[in-house]
Amino acid sequence: MFEQHSPVLPIILPLIAAPICILLGRSQLAWLFATFISALGFGISIGLMLTTLDQGVLSYSLGGWEPPWGIEVRVDAASALVLCVVTGISSLVLVYAKESIAKEIDSSQHTLYYTAHLLCLAGLSGILSTGDAFNLFVFLEISSLATYTLVSLASDKRCLTAAFRYLIMGTIGATFILIGVGMMYMKTGTLNMLDLAARISEYDSSRTLNTGLAFILVGVSIKLALFPLHMWLPPAYTHAPSAVSAFLASTATKVAVYVMVRFIFTIYGAEYVFHTMGMDTILLVLAIVAIFKCSFMATVQSNVKTVLAYSSVAQIGYMILGISLVSTLGLTAGLLHIFNHALMKGALFMAVGAVLLRTGSVDIKAFQGLGKQMPLTMAAFTIAGLSIIGVPLTAGFVSKWYLVTAALEQQEWTVAFLVLAGSLLAIIYVGRILEAAYFKNPAEGTTYKEAPLLMLIPLWILVFANIYFGIDTSMSVGAADTAAQWLTQPSSSPATALSVNMGGATQ
């Protein structure tokens, strides 16, 4: 009986599980329960993915009120793809978290951690599935508030300033989105995304709509840490507990990229954004600067988590670059990189978390000699690092392949070359850490044990996923390609009950 409700389940399951976690009280129970719920959400998301690829868009009217009067949950291939990433990573991180937070978070707060994690998951799933612009803002705020909490749970005091900076920037971003949505509403009288799209397409150009778009793009850019609005990200990911860094780095910014895609392609339409407003050039330039500036920043950091954080900002540049190429192939590349980057960054942060657990530090010095002492962890780190560089047979290579192909298809030779040149910087920042691990000798008299099994299992699942999706790309590319096709040519998506509905609604 739940099948017809499946589009809304990934949101409300964690939402209802969060208060239950509080009532359960004991952190062991909360852990089991949260992991179970998250895994359940992952299962449902995969089901949704298969259904959308098979039957097209799924629409679900909350409260039985048909859109645009009620709120609609609308799952298409793009949402389902990112949803799978978010719920999947969340499940793995939760498994991983038990051992990881034991050292990094005060034991009295473990239950709160799981609760906040579930709330964040609910918020992210909500952003991904909702078909209503204002509802998106609400879920954005749920996930953001939970995120601020998660970041501030670490024992290092610097997490507090990081969380505060994140809070200020994030709230400014959210408020900008709110302003943008208001302006859209002002001109169209609706909040439903499809309805907005239909009504915006009636305008060739409107100052209010232009401003609205600009505010939304700036707001989302803060959330997704697009250069130069990324300043909140490195400290937040550096000082957050490792499990949180792993979760956020592979989901939160990805969801923000999804929001940008949604606003550009579904609501305003690529024509409006790129031709009327000329946003593609701006995004392209920012993306390339992000890739080089932040990759370079990553090469000079001594804290490994900071290295990974800067690398994240650079990798977000790749995603935005894909979007800014204004083509189906470019969008495919961007979406694909969302998926693949989640696999690599998740694994990298998990490996670093394991190192932190054993050595108590994430400075690059702490990695000295770990190649021998924590061989499994460092092997995982190596493979995920190679994936970041984009070595063949890893997921990262597939992303690079598509990005460059997309750039060449648009005759952007320089861009294509820059994408590849950017990965050379990745060789440096990954290489530095690997050299420390394999060539330096550990400090005198220190011996560390291999990470506990409960951390190694999720870590290696991600590593295997990196290899698997680097070889068999049919699944990931297929989903990204379908999603991109539907986003760029809405007419090619299979007809749904809703589009019939909408015909009546937009009269």
Binding site: V391, V398, V404, A416, S423, I471, T473
Partner: protein, 504 residues
């Protein structure tokens, strides 16, 4: 000759790639027991060689062999197929792997190296990648295993684990990965986008639909993208890689890795650009002269090196460019010469490296200046060294004669007199930097005493190493007198012939 005739021909390709992998796994499993571990290594090498022999047999019988692993992207898969050039390279690599393994047993034990299991394991992995490169049927497959070869040899280069090894490894990985990602991958993607295919096709895949400037650019990108071919200025990694143990230098940096580089260039020239189209590409001559410059320049550098391995490394850089030059002369016979040079240079240079390693293990001497009168102590080794050196120089009765001969004829046929001069001068330079070593060893007395030499003075390298050296130096001779099978194989390459003016 083909003991695997019971198997389906295409399975042989899979086996050539998988057998070394299985070998690697077994090596790791049996790492605790050195004797067993090394037996496995040799057994794997022998099995692999018989497999390649089987493939060679099938090639002569004109059997088509192809296999596809996975569909990587729509219209693009990881696939393998056999063509004569690949067979040639596979023969060389798999045969020399047996020899090198035997040599390595002597060397590694004699030197009491650490981490021998990792060494044998990575070695097998590298050979597996080389096999995959040999039989790759499209550029993507070639690229993937090209990168894997780089990565699997990295632990070998940095085997010593000290500061020098780290620095060498950094240069090694840095240059090879950077050039392959920034240039080779870029060129492959550009080819893919502009032609829609990456298949190796006799006669090339570019048509009139691609602008000539694009094709010219791609040629440059491919030549520099294959950093393993060590074309200047991206040659620094090869001397840097000499920090590795000598068996690694011998097989990988004289045979497998560098030859994978020039082999890739040959394959790209013949199956992506097409020999006939080469002369119409405006950058061919540019790259040709860069190759020629590399030949000369690195020979000069080699003369200045006192460290024996460094001198050999620069000699390798120079010899690799012979092959590049041969490929780019746009002449069928020069191309044949280039292909042959893969074989002849391999046996010659591996002999030299083996000797260098033996000298180091026995006497701990690295520098040429310390090797005076070494001929008294290691006469067999130094005789082998002389044979190898003569082969590299290209003097009869050594194998190197043939390839140089064809290269020279090719240069004449292509009417490139400058190249002819370069080849001649370079041969003289070879004489100048290689022959002084045995001369010094045999004729310069270490001190003033002049006793007559006796066997009791000798202290050669451990017997496995000595055996390996003997085999390779004999090969140098054999291939001079009996090059026919190899030449026949070269003639099977589409559009390549050792007959003047393209044969019939």
């Amino acid at each position: 000759m083909n003991i695997w005739s019971a198997l389906e021909p295409s399975q042989l390709i899979n086996l050539t790639i998988i057998v070394p992998l299985v070998g690697a796994a077994l090596v790791v499993l049996l790492g605790k027991n050195p004797n067993l571990r090394e037996s496995i290594s040799i057994a794997t090498a022998v099995i692999l060689f018989t497999l390649v022999l089987g493939i060679t047999d099938n090639t002569f019988n004109q059997l088509n062999m192809a296999t596809s692993w996975v569909d990587f992207l729509p219209g693009l898969n990881i696939a393998f197929s056999v063509e004569p050039l690949g067979v040639l390279f596979a023969l060389v690599a798999s045969f020399l792997w047996i020899i090198t393994t035997i040599y390595a047993i002597g060397y590694m034990r004699g030197h009491n190296e650490e981490n021998q299991t990792r060494f044998y394991c990575c070695f097998a992995l590298a050979i597996s990648s080389v096999m995959a490169i040999c039989f790759s049927s499209n550029l993507l497959t070639l690229f993937i295993f090209y990168e894997l070869l780089t990565l699997s040899t990295y632990p070998l280069v940095t085997h010593a684990g000290n500061k020098n090894a780290k620095r060498g490894g950094r240069v090694y990985l840095g240059i090879l990965l950077s050039t392959s990602i920034a240039f080779l991958l870029f060129a492959i993607l550009a080819t893919w986008v502009s032609t829609g295919t990456l298949e190796f096709t006799p006669g090339g895949i570019f048509t009139d639909a691609q602008s000539s400037s694009l094709v010219s650019l791609l040629l440059v990108l491919f030549c520099y993208g294959v950093g393993k071919a060590a074309l200047m200025p991206f040659h620094r990694w090869l001397p840097a890689a000499m920090v590795a143990p000598t068996p690694v230098s011998a097989l990988l940096h004289a045979v497998a890795v560098v030859k994978a580089g020039v082999f890739s260039i040959l394959k790209i020239v013949i199956y992506i650009f097409g020999i006939d189209n080469l002369s119409q590409i405006s950058t061919t001559d540019v790259m040709l002269y860069i190759g020629a410059a590399t030949v000369l320049f690195s020979s000069f550098v080699a003369m200045t090196k006192d460290n024996l391995k460094a001198r050999l490394a620069y000699s390798t850089v120079s010899q690799l460019s012979y092959i590049v030059v041969g490929a780019l002369l746009a002449s069928s016979i020069a191309f044949a010469g280039a292909s042959l040079h893969i074989v002849t240079h391999a046996v010659g240079k591996i002999t030299l490296f083996f000797c260098a390693g033996s000298i180091f293990v026995t006497t701990h001497k690295k520098n040429i200046s310390e090797m005076a009168s070494l001929g008294r102590k290691m006469p067999l080794t130094m005789i082998a060294f002389t044979i190898g050196a003569l082969s590299i120089i290209g003097l009869p009765p050594m194998a190197g004669t043939w390839s140089k001969w064809y290269l020279v004829v090719g240069a004449l046929e292509a009417d490139k007199l400058i190249i002819l001069m370069v080849l001649t001068i370079s041969s003289l330079l070879n004489v100048a930097y290689l022959l002084p070593i045995p001369i010094r060893a045999f004729f310069t007395p270490a001190d003033q005493r002049s006793q007559s030499w006796s066997w009791s003075e000798t202290s050669e390298a451990p017997w496995p190493s000595l055996l390996a050296i003997t085999v390779t130096s004999v090969m140098c001779l054999v291939l001079f007198f009996y090059p026919q099978p190899i030449i026949e194989l070269v003639n099977l390459i589409p559009g390549v012939s050792t007959d003047i003016n393209g044969g019939t």
